[in-house]
Amino acid sequence: MTKRLATIGMRVTQAIPVILGVVVVSFLLTRALPGDPAVYFAGPAADEASIAEIRAALGLDKSLPHQFLIYASDILRGDLGQSLSTGQPVVSDLANRLPASLELTLTALFLSCTIAIPLGVLAATHPGSAIDHFCRILVTAGVSLPTFFTGIVLIYVFYYLLGFAPSPLGRIDFVYIEPDHVTGFYLIDAALAGDWETWIGALKQLILPAITLALFTLAPLARMTRASMLTALSSDYIRTARAAGLTENKVLFAYAFRNALLPVITTLGMVFSFTLGANVLVEKVFAWPGIGSYAVEALVVSDYAAVQGFVLAMALLFVALNLIIDLSYTLIDPRIGFESK
């Protein structure tokens, strides 16, 4: 057990160089701007004085390592600069909008996991059956769907043609009152407040973008589940279990599925990466007030501090998610931490 704890400690410390690398890359991105970065960060309406002020703040007259130190210490203090378009610090902008993005992303992931994993298992346990073919078609078609296009089609069908869905503008319709801010997740906050009308309203807004995002992540998850379940089912220990007369349920779930889950968890990392990327597009399509649409709006007006802050925030979020994935893998697979033996 102490060995296990040491492994967990190792995993956490391994994240540190990655975070450092992320900070270096995002620093390099701010310095890669052609010409004078200060001009870009000051924005088109800036005068000489404000450009000079920004130049001093970025330390552009100093050496590159020195500039990096300034940048890194700013990040440590939680200072990602001012947003030109909102006039607010980028950090507070991001913090305000992050819950919206997380609520959408997590709902979508939950949706796709609950569909993709059982589907993959069914396809693997019934190879050649109708469900297997369905799974294969879905998997190939699913990865071919551009998220922004799926979103638009869903809006056309469910909003324009059928009128089931509310207008695709934001997290909640103006007829409802925003729930008090506790977690920032409307579904949770509304439930906490006991305001079920608002809860339903928030859910209605959420459901289409979440489905759009879920459709995109469904395919890689289902494909991996099917493949790893097939591998597990054809392995020797399954034959041993069958030869010992274990029931089919025991063989499928306690033996095959638990082993098959390991590669699926690894895939989750990649799926997170795709989801966070696709999130930006979905937020734009549905005018979802998360950090993705914030970045898109910032891009349009060349608000560099906001864009770079967004990139850094997304990367840190992704590193954190990956760490959680790694840790859960460590808990399931006893072999982790012993590979070198």
Binding site: S235, D236, T240, A241, A244, K250, F338
Partner: protein, 550 residues
């Protein structure tokens, strides 16, 4: 009244190229308390027969005819749920490659509990105690600690004990053992087989042992069934099958099994035996190995793979290097063939120290062509994108300086030298059989007329009948070309057939070396004795000898 009765069993598989009959009318009976062996080479359908008995055929496989009866129950038409009740409780199975036969992420104790609880041999509260009891039954010391272990923490032999414990946990009456020793070291093989035999005798069970190893079958089984191409070619008492084989195929198998007291020619069928060639050995040393060491920097301190070994090989001589996996024999051969740099020591080849030239630049060294190697795994040692012709031609193109047309002629000469039909030269590795690949590998190794050839278990993956042919080919080539061999193997009997001297390695050190006959007949080191006694001893020798004496 037999416990298990198989009559006219037919099994076929649906494949891409249509239906394939894997088992064609096999009949086997196993009486109470009897151990029956099914012997055959790869593709004989012996394993498929055993899986058909358990109704555990792979997808696409089906029993298409015959009858299977176990204790009065018709296994062929039994419901799947009834089969599940039988498996593990009445009929159990032990597999090859024990490591992969256990669930990698479940404690072994829990895996045994699963079986006990399934067949109502234990309840939740008694399961742990019963599982430990089952572990103790297969003579596992410190069973309480092993209960908590995962398979990856255990050795191969220990994993096989666990698999046996799992199979015997519910006191079945019939055990099917499918190549139970494949993938284990030779000393572990004996321990495992002895354990299985003891437990079966103790519990008055019956067993069906599936194996490719005639010696093993003869030693442990009372009755033997020989299979070939999905059919039974011979059946009888173990002694009778070996001493007086009725079918020519059995005869061939018996003859081809390496054993003490025969020459390499006697592995072949009588009409194929040409006279043994003269093998002159010069007094001049060809390769002198002095104080050779190889140390790796491991995570927890240095790992001493080879510890200060010395030996010498004379011109024309064949030396065997024997040991179990991890003994350092592969590391040694890699250093000798100059693919790996020694940590210290000398490799004097024809009077020059090869260790001074780093392995990295040895590819360009003029002495490169003098030292060559035949690799163990014939499949893995060929570039899958090259034809046999390209593979054999590669060393010629790089090192011989021959022109294209000359190379072409040389390749064909080499092919006929190793007995490879010229037609096969344009085939890719996956289109060749194991024996054909072995020939291509040998042709490539001798293409440059080397003085010294390292043979790294060249027949380990081959069936015995093919092995017999390849071993004889190697003897003929040695006589014709005067090459010196270093024959690396785990099998003492094979080494004896081919080598004048034997070096026995254990844990990176040489424990014994000397003339082959001396080492084999009067081993001085206890480890050599252990290795020798572990190799299965077929009754053939004694029986044949007495037959000859009459």
């Amino acid at each position: 009244m037999s416990l298990l009765s198989v009559e006219n069993l037919q099994v076929s598989f649906k494949t891409r190229r249509g239906e394939v009959q894997a088992v064609r009318g096999v009949s086997v009976d196993v009486a109470k308390g009897e151990i029956v062996g099914i012997v055959g080479e790869s593709g004989s359908g012996k394993s498929v027969t055993s899986y058909a008995l358990m109704r555990l055929l792979d997808r696409g496989g089906a029993i298409t005819g015959g009858s299977l009866t176990y204790g009065g129950i018709d296994l062929k038409s039994a419901k799947e749920s009834a089969m599940r009740d039988l498996r593990g409780r009445e009929i159990s199975m032990v597999f090859q490659n024990p490591r992969s036969a256990l669930n990698p992420i479940r404690k072994v104790g829990h895996q045994i509990e699963d079986v006990l609880c399934r067949h109502a041999r234990a309840t939740r509260s008694t399961a742990k105690a019963e599982a430990i009891k089952a572990l103790k039954a297969v003579r596992i010391r410190d069973a309480e600690a092993r209960y908590e272990a995962y398979p990856f923490e255990l050795s191969g032999g220990m994993c096989q004990r666990i698999v046996i414990a799992l199979a015997l946990a519910c006191d079945p009456r019939l055990l099917i053992a499918d190549e139970p020793t494949t993938g284990l070291d030779i000393t572990t093989q004996k321990v495992v087989m002895d354990l299985i035999a003891d437990l079966i005798a103790e519990r008055d069970m019956s067993a069906l042992v599936i194996t490719h190893d005639l010696g093993l079958a003869a030693q442990y089984c009372s009755r033997i069934v020989v299979m070939k191409d999905g059919e039974v070619v011979e059946e009888g008492d173990a002694d009778q099958v070996f001493t007086a084989p009725k079918h020519e195929y059995t005869r061939k198998l018996v003859d081809a099994t390496p054993r003490a007291g025969v020459s390499v020619r006697e592995l072949l069928l009588p009409y194929l035996r040409s006279p043994m060639p003269r093998l002159p050995i010069s007094e001049t040393p060809l390769m002198e190995v002095k104080n050779l060491c190889k140390t790796y920097q491991g995570k927890s301190g240095p790992v001493y793979a080879v510890k200060d070994i010395s030996f010498s090989i004379r011109k024309g001589q064949s030396v065997g290097l024997v040991g179990e996996s991890g003994c350092g024999k592969s590391t040694t051969s890699s250093m000798l063939v100059r693919l790996l740099d020694p940590t210290s020591g000398e490799l004097i080849f024809n009077g020059e120290d090869l260790a001074r030239t780093p392995a990295k630049s040895f590819a360009r060294d003029p002495r490169r062509s003098a030292i060559q190697m035949v690799f163990q795994d014939a499949t893995d040692s060929f570039n899958p994108r090259h034809t046999a012709r390209q593979s054999i031609g590669e060393p010629l193109a790089r090192l011989s300086g021959l022109r294209r047309a000359q190379r072409r002629a040389r390749i064909e000469e080499l092919a006929s030298l190793v007995g490879l039909p010229l037609l096969l030269l344009d085939r890719f590795p996956h289109q060749l059989s194991g024996g054909q690949k072995a020939r291509v590998g040998i042709a490539r190794a001798i293409a440059l007329d080397p003085e010294f050839l390292i043979l790294d278990e060249p027949t380990a993956a081959l069936d015995v009948s093919i092995q017999a042919i390849v071993l004889n080919l190697l003897v003929d080539l040695r006589a014709k070309l005067g090459i010196s061999y270093l024959f690396v193997s785990h099998d003492l009997h094979v080494v004896r057939l081919l080598c004048d001297e034997v070096i026995v390695m254990k844990d990176g050190e040489v424990v014994e070396q000397g003339p082959a006959d001396l080492v084999m007949d009067k081993p001085s080191h206890s480890y050599t004795r252990e290795l020798l006694s572990a190799a299965p001893r077929p009754p053939v020798l004694t029986a044949l000898k007495s037959a000859a004496a009459e």
